[in-house]
Subunit: 208 residues, 2 copies
Amino acid sequence: MTLCDIGNTHLHFYQEGRVWACAPQNLATHQEALQGEVFYISVNPHATNALLELCPSATNLAPKMQLQSKYEGLGVDRVAACLGLLGKSGVVVDAGSAITVDMMENGVHLGGVILPGFEAYRHAFKHISPALDVPLNLRVNVEALPNATTDALGYGALQSVLLTLKHLVGERKVYFTGGDGKFLANFFSNGIYDGLLVFNGMRATLGA
Amino acid sequence: MTLCDIGNTHLHFYQEGRVWACAPQNLATHQEALQGEVFYISVNPHATNALLELCPSATNLAPKMQLQSKYEGLGVDRVAACLGLLGKSGVVVDAGSAITVDMMENGVHLGGVILPGFEAYRHAFKHISPALDVPLNLRVNVEALPNATTDALGYGALQSVLLTLKHLVGERKVYFTGGDGKFLANFFSNGIYDGLLVFNGMRATLGA
């Protein structure tokens, strides 16, 4: 059995504990992983079509995902990550192209927030002015006041994300996943990194 | 005498206490304001050329702007806004296409931070996914947890800016300028909106 989480930029695969990512245009090189049963969730219709072309029998798990929530339009990847807590209470942070923050209490989703991911901050700055089209220094010391552009941009992106997360997390446990999840977890004494949160939610849905 | 602050998207003019903005492509319709002496600062070479074509005698004030600072590459508009404090201590927030935050103490610039402006947040979200290409609700209640996408995006943009500003401002006085300055000043009991900060810095440089 193969699980596939189709995100905005990549398809993420899970097979017997092994995980890997691939871009939609490179999907054909992963054809052997698509031989058996494939279950997917997707937030990207274009990449979904690419998967279904290679693997027409792949099953969309979204209709089977059940999360108690009043949130209108919650992305299926966020639903899966929240289900991945397996009933534990806490905050789920998926730090990818966007940074989504979802509050779970006793299996119920209480609401959530969306921040730009760090690459999106970079893109936003670049879009404002060529003078801001420089790398963000995300290793900036947020205890000091920046005195250079890369630090000023890095501070703006990192500190605005950290302060918002800390405000939302409070004393709760916080579970990080996604490409920048491990990096962000370092800033939280109550932070746990779990790269499999979305797949665990998919497996729980399948009763696997 | 006419002052002109050339920003990333617009040219802002000041003439005897009157201020107005115009896009570079509409500059010709403002030709009568460019008859007398014109002093400008600019962060946008393309728009500077547009001004100089209509008004070849316009003088760049940047070389005359003097601000004590260790910051490398501080934009001339930020220098002007800081000089606009006329020696007062406090935090200068210019909330336009970017939100710049600069710390002034006894006429000395101590450092600064750059955040995306709200339009840049909107652009960043749109760039991530078509599902996030919706208006941000900046009137969102930041005391409650969002349960809809426009609120989740609005909360992410507004709260991340507010918390970063509050962290940097502390108990200091904070002077807001720029298009979103008035809106942001409302969130600060120690906040003052001054739409003329940049022009006051230019006038101080001219000894006017």
